[in-house]
Symmetry: C2
């Protein structure tokens, strides 16, 4: 049969959806405990906002919207957002008079990019972003963001029973800036230098060295040595370098004290120009590609371009541009990665109990049991159609429902039901009075 799902869009099966929902709950619980507050922005932003600060690279990926196949003249065209950063920058500019700073928000929403389909890339995916914004953001907040994400990821992995190490790789971009200054690397070369470092893990060390040599010629050995020096052995007589080392060490030490699995990695740079200072990415033992699922950094200058759209920037050059620290978990991408690497072992029952249609004439008795279970938040299916019992069993087994409940006349007379446990295959007669506690007790073992 022809599949009618548009190409490049993903859809989860109900059991995978359930696991993703629980993972999302874990993210929300952790983000909120770390005092981030939730906002949602619309799926669209004005085109002038979306294109205020990005490169053609990203513009090519925008899904443009048309209404009535063209825009009425009195309305400004808008399009689907391609990330949650630009919408949030717009939100801050729009609402700065009523927001309380430091403003810490999380946002879990879909974003859309018209990418050609490839591994783990879809045209629609969910991101779970946190951003921390203030006009003067002490470095403690860099640590705080990383701690939040580390704890969140750790709990997700524990829940999914994935015994892999989450590892945070930390750098500070002032280091690279300092190298560029020291070796007179021009602006053009600098961009490529950043991009080269950023691609280190995608190349072999030899390939990297050749590319480095092609870029900085006679200095390449010295630069390579510098990059690979341990922090403690670096010469800090240069004031700019010492500033960088102190910043990095402060974040690093604070996180080490909080048992975060963190290490210094000079190859973590992001080439985009608005990322400053702290940069960090997440790696997982034996899965090099995981970094594209979680990364973050600090940047300083994003709202400026939004202010230009409002015209406010021209009139008031003193206007606050804010410092930001950002991190994102690519929720959809995490899921596709887990799925492809067979790391999801978890099975969660979508429905916890089912009351079979044993006899039509005792429906009201069965509905009473149903109500009792529902009132105690035990998700309970009641089968209404009078299909043969084997068909009903088939349905319950396919849906992986753990508790099977039967009530014939005899059970009704004794105010009992028969409960069969799909997993342990045990079967018992239980009095109505004990039913809720019986199921809740047994459920605990199943959900572990």
């Amino acid at each position: 049969m022809k599949n009618l799902l548009p190409g490049g869009f993903g859809e989860l099966t109900p059991d995978k959806q359930k696991i993703q929902n629980v993972v999302k709950e874990i993210i929300i619980k952790n983000y909120e405990t770390f005092w981030y507050i939730n906002i949602e922005t619309p799926a669209v932003e004005l085109n002038e906002v979306l294109t205020s600060k990005w490169w053609e690279e990203v513009w090519k990926q925008i899904f443009w919207l048309y209404w009535l196949k063209q825009w009425p003249e009195d309305l400004k065209p808008y399009s689907l957002h391609f990330d949650l950063t630009v919408p949030f920058a717009r939100y801050v500019v729009d609402n700065e008079s009523i927001l309380k700073f430091p403003f810490k928000r999380y946002q879990i929403q879909k974003v859309w990019r018209g990418e050609r389909q490839q591994r783990w890339r879809f045209k629609e995916f969910i991101q779970a972003d946190i951003d921390l914004v203030w006009n003067n953001l002490p470095l403690n907040y860099d640590s705080e963001v990383i701690l939040t994400l580390y704890r969140t990821l750790k709990e997700i992995f524990e829940f999914l029973k994935i015994w892999k190490w989450v590892e945070i790789h930390l750098n500070n971009k002032k280091f690279i800036e300092w190298i560029c200054t020291m070796y007179n690397i021009s602006w053009d070369t600098k961009t490529i230098f950043f991009w080269l470092l950023d691609g280190f893990y995608k190349a072999t060390p030899e390939e990297f060295l050749i590319k480095l040599q092609n870029l900085v010629w006679e200095n390449f050995k010295e630069i390579n040595k510098l990059i690979n020096t341990k922090i403690d052995e670096l010469d800090i007589s240069n004031p700019f370098l010492s500033e960088w080392i102190n910043e990095l060490k402060e974040v690093y030490t604070s996180l080490k004290e909080k048992w975060v699995n963190i290490l210094f990695d000079p190859y973590i740079t992001r080439w985009l120009d608005y990322y400053t200072w702290t940069v960090f990415e997440t790696f997982i033992s034996n899965y090099d590609n995981f970094w594209s699922i979680c990364s973050g950094w600090r940047y300083d200058n994003l709202v400026e371009s939004i202010r230009k759209v409002t015209g406010e920037w021209k009139n008031n050059k003193d206007t606050n541009n804010y410092e930001w620290v950002w991190w994102s978990i690519g929720l959809s991408r995490l899921f596709w990665w887990l799925d492809e690497t067979w790391l999801i072992n978890k099975k969660l029952p979508l429905t916890q109990a089912i009351i079979f249609n044993t006899l039509w004439n005792n429906l009201s008795y069965r509905e009473k049991i149903w109500e009792l279970l529902r009132n105690n938040w035990i998700s309970t299916d009641i089968y209404y159609s009078d299909e043969k019992l084997w068909k009903q069993f088939n349905y319950a087994e396919n849906k992986n429902i753990p508790f099977w409940i039967f009530a014939w006349d005899e059970e009704q007379t004794k105010n009992e039901v028969i409960v069969k446990n799909l997993y342990s295959r045990e079967q018992e007669s239980i009095s109505i009075n004990d039913l809720v506690s019986y199921i809740k007790q047994k459920l605990k073992n199943i959900l572990k």
Copy 2:
């Protein structure tokens, strides 16, 4: 300042967003307890699917998507979905070989309609739909859907402390069909007749009668009398009428037994042709307009049009077309309505506690307290910047944080903190060992 939010799109303030999130959790908890399972479909559907069964009326509201400003030739164009019904019908057709029937799903997602802005209407809004699908769906499932929604709405209202009655108005469309047959009402007139009944609550009784007379001429008095007859007094010698009465009574009685506030209302008809049998809408005491927030019905024939897109329909006329019962809560619309009518009295703290930056040199002591609270899922803000204390208080008060925590050297020596309660204004020294239970106990009162 110029606002950059696109016109016709809504955005909630963080405190309203929090309340909406809790309402959403209540919806999910209830839907799942009534054994609905969650799926999500992409924001887009193929244009041929979206336009497979709707009228120009709806097509005019579609937001068409363009990628690279035009579609590459090898890709099929798709657009934003305008409801969750068409995507779900597509989902069922695409996945019917792996789904277990009866299939009961809930879906809480944004939908988009290019409507001109008016009261409670935005171009983007969230719907919380349930659908129950099977090839032969006993009437018990009609009751079940209504019970699910009634319980859900009741809990939402209780949570928000809105003491209004939720009232379900029930009808069965076979009644109107029967009237049409009895009075030889033609197909064209029938459509208008349905539409007229549906608009009853928007007109005065006099206006309604005049319109009815204009439509059915000499029969209008008899028809009007028939509509207003009580169920028990209707002549059931006509087999079609008796079928309708039995169907209606079965649903009605079953719900009355479950304490649902339900009544028969012959004016609840939906004019669209694929709604058959049971129709129901929700009213709230003194708020006539509430029906547009929650309604539902049974329909039989929706996947047929989707099958035509796949070409499957032509080849196999026996293919299952399913019976469906559907209900939707317009989550966004519910919110705008509550907001405009001043019915949200609830205030929920976004963050539960804050540890002030009293002294820099005891940061590690304060971070230990922070970790203790976090590990017990108490959402706790730690203020890192060394702003003056009154500025920190200002921030905490604006954010409505109930528990204010202070730790100077003296407290550290005694392994204590000072806790101030923003609401009761009481202030106490609490030992670290008792801190978690102290806050949890007090929080209970605040969240009530």
